[in-house]
Amino acid sequence: MEQAPTDPERQLQPAPLEPLGRSDSGLGVAVDEEAEGAREEGSGGDTMTHNNFWLKKIEISVSEAEKRTGRNAMNMQETYTAYLIETRSVEHTDGQSVLTDSLWRRYSEFELLRNYLLVYYPHIVVPPLPEKRAEFVWHKLSADNMDPDFVERRRIGLENFLLRIASHPILCRDKIFYLFLTQEGNWKETVNETGFQLKADSRLKALNATFRVKNPDKRFTDLKHYSDELQSVISHLLRVRARVADRLYGVYKVHGNYGRVFSEWSAIEKEMGDGLQSAGHHMDVYASSIDDILEDEEHYADQLKEYLFYAEALRAVCRKHELMQYDLEIAAQDLASKKQQCEELATGTVRTFSLKGMTTKLFGQETPEQREARIKVLEEQINEGEQQLKSKNLEGREFVKNAWADIERFKEQKNRDLKEALISYAVMQISMCKKGIQVWTNAKECFSKM
């Protein structure tokens, strides 16, 4: 099993009981090593997930969304949407669920939770949030954040986010996550008190490391390329899908015009009248069927979008590795140069440039005592440096090991999820075709009766 990293205060102790079930969810996430990975189909958004520290199975759902008004940090009125998060614990014996916690959170709090997790679990591919603003919009869909369809899809996305965390073997044990689900007031303060913002690596530092690192693990370099490709290809796919949806909408809706005209025409026709009128009705049915069809497709797009955003999470892990590796390389370099300085001082040969060396050359020799003192300082520094290098090396190897384990877990999850998404796309197409056959068969009958 993977090691839980660093600070034990943030981790709840694992329950003394053995895990009751498989850590499955309808999304087919984190599977235990021994588990066969039998997936339950999630009904609606609720899925059962097992969690170590709750002693029982729990269900998490983001069940409602509500428009609220309040005052923001600058004391200005603002409108935002709040989401109701309900946690239920499930009795093992009879499967009945009891509501244990229920609180309201807004999107920014979800963001805070994620940013916290990113800092404290840099070796984990942290699940992404649903998009903040609607992108890849085709013309009928509103890009307005307050639009009810967008809010609904975001509600599902946020629920998905929580379920992903809850079914992750490591993230699920995090205390802040637990408090997110259970402690409504003061949670923000609690998160900020962890001081995670200070612990975060600066963007500049990370960028610097990316450019200067000499020997990153090749697997991470490959992973970075992969995540770039994934992001690029999914973006492209989503863009074209949106355009296709737009066109399809046009085709269906124009047929609706037939309905109106047929109806008016039928008024002047004696024999053809009835046939025209009822055919017109079917054209209306056809035209209005596209709304549901495209709404369903939007959910498919959301599934792809999640993996679009996962690409960034992958890159974050790569960046952390590069940073650690760079750190290590700098420390090693530093140590090597100190060792050399020490050697030179001891033997009297100058091979490396040092300011002290130069000044002594210019302003006169230093005394043997001074030299001894300097050698001693350097030796201490070298010792320290060697200890540090050793622990950094260890840290680095641990990181690579843990990160890679999570990446393997992620890859399996991704393959399962994307396969499922593509299959669900086929199912949607089939449903659309069946509806089309039915409505045109009806229309054809009306036409032939004219």
Binding site: E36, Y226, E229, L230, V233, I234, H236, L237, V240, R241, R243, V244, D246, R247, L248, G250, V251, V254, H255, N257, Y258, V261, E264, W265, A267, I268, E271, M272, G275, A279, K411, N415, L418, K419, L422, I423, Y425, A426, V427, Q429, I430, C433, K434, G436, I437, W440, T441, A443, K444, F447, S448, M450
Partner: protein, 387 residues
């Protein structure tokens, strides 16, 4: 002999017209077969124009031979139509395709335009051939059989262009009078024509719009499949499923192309022909009104003793006959036209529905077989995993 609907030898009673309709429905009794094909471009110093080859096969005695091949240009068709209208002012003459493309195409000789026109001209001649009266028109026969120079010289006979124009102006002016005394049944007919014209024009626009939307959908779909192939290049475990999805999308794409061309074949030309028919009908109505107006003006003159009272009764008698013949011809042809219209519209829309059903059936089969293969794969993998 010049046969027209005023000749006492031509049956004008509706009953005999109906018998004629039955005659047409039995294809073995059809004795005149016409095809229009092989458009060819001709360049002279003055102009460039297209001619179409017209092949006529017939067993009719009055034709000198059983097979004819001639070349005609659009102008010749216009001439024929004019002659038919002249000879049979209250019969519903089939419409000709428009002189120019409506949407202001610069290039008159675009391939699609020529093909569309060729099909419409083919329809035009066949409709005439199927018409119980028009099929025996002498100018029609000459059009189908005469060599180029023969046709030219024949065209030069008959009233000149200027006098024809003069007639048109008088016709429009006097037809206004005819509207006032229009009998009830023709009022109804006129109402129908007006409403029908409105509706068929709308349907024409809607159908064209659908074609355009389907074309744009097809254009976007063409890009959609290949992206999945691109994606498969970076996903080792998803290569097969992504490639399968790509091929499904491509197959649906082809099905959509077929649906589009089906629409263009079956629906658009028929609807458009009836748009032109509706304009034709309004012209027929006007001509009927004009004939009536001639009678009415003479009757008026008699009432107010404006002109020579002696000659008037005889003239009026002739005109009354003329009006009656014209009305009867129109009534009978109207019934025939309506019947044809119903059949044609019904067929066109039924075909369109059939195209759509076929399209969805193809797509359904594609995705269902994809799903089946995925399920089979899954079962295979599951059985492999078992120790």
């Amino acid at each position: 002999m010049d046969m027209n609907s005023f000749s006492p030898m031509m049956p004008t009673s509706p009953l005999s017209m109906i018998n004629q309709i039955k005659f047409e429905d039995e294809p073995d009794l059809k004795d005149l077969f016409i095809t229009v094909d092989e458009p060819e471009s001709h360049v002279t110093t003055i102009e460039t124009f297209i001619t179409y080859r017209i092949i006529t096969k017939t067993s009719r005695g009055e034709f000198d031979s059983s097979e004819f091949e001639v070349r005609r240009r659009y102008q010749d068709f216009l001439w024929l139509k004019g002659k038919l209208e002249e000879a049979h002012p209250t019969l519903i003459i089939p419409p000709l395709p428009e002189k120019f493309m409506v949407k202001g195409m610069v290039e008159r000789f675009n391939d699609d335009f020529i093909e569309t026109r060729r099909k419409a001209l083919h329809k035009f001649l066949n409709r005439i051939a199927d018409h119980p009266t028009l099929t025996f028109n002498e100018d029609f026969k000459i059009f189908l059989t005469a060599q180029a120079w023969e046709l030219s010289s024949h065209k030069k006979q008959g009233p000149g262009l200027l006098s024809r124009m003069g007639q048109t102006v008088r016709a429009v002016a006097s037809s206004m009078r005819g509207v006032k005394n229009r009998p009830e049944e023709f009022m109804e007919m006129n109402n129908f024509i007006e409403l029908f014209s409105q509706k068929i024009n709308l349907i024409d626009k809607i159908s064209q719009r659908i074609y355009k939307e389907e074309r744009e959908y097809f254009d976007e779909m063409k890009e959609y499949g290949p992206i999945h192939i691109l994606w498969s290049a970076s996903e080792e475990d998803l290569v097969d499923i992504l490639k399968d999805v790509a091929s499904c999308i491509d197959r649906c794409c082809k099905a959509t192309e077929k649906r589009m061309s089906g629409l263009a074949e079956a629906l658009l030309p028929v609807v458009h022909e009836y748009v032109l028919y509706s304009e034709m009908l309004m012209g027929v109505m006007r001509r009927r009104d004009q004939i009536q107006a001639e009678l009415d003006s003479k009757v008026e003159a008699l009432t107010y003793k404006k002109a020579d009272a002696d000659l008037l009764p005889e003239e009026i008698g002739k005109l009354e006959d003329k009006v009656e013949c014209a009305n009867n011809a129109l009534k009978a042809d109207w019934e025939r036209w309506k019947q044809n219209m119903q059949n044609d519209i019904k067929l066109a829309f039924t075909d369109m529905a059939e195209e759509n059903i076929h399209y969805y059936e193809q797509c359904l089969a594609t995705w269902e077989s994809f799903l089946t293969s995925q399920t089979n794969l899954h079962l295979e993998e599951a059985s492999e995993d078992k120790p």
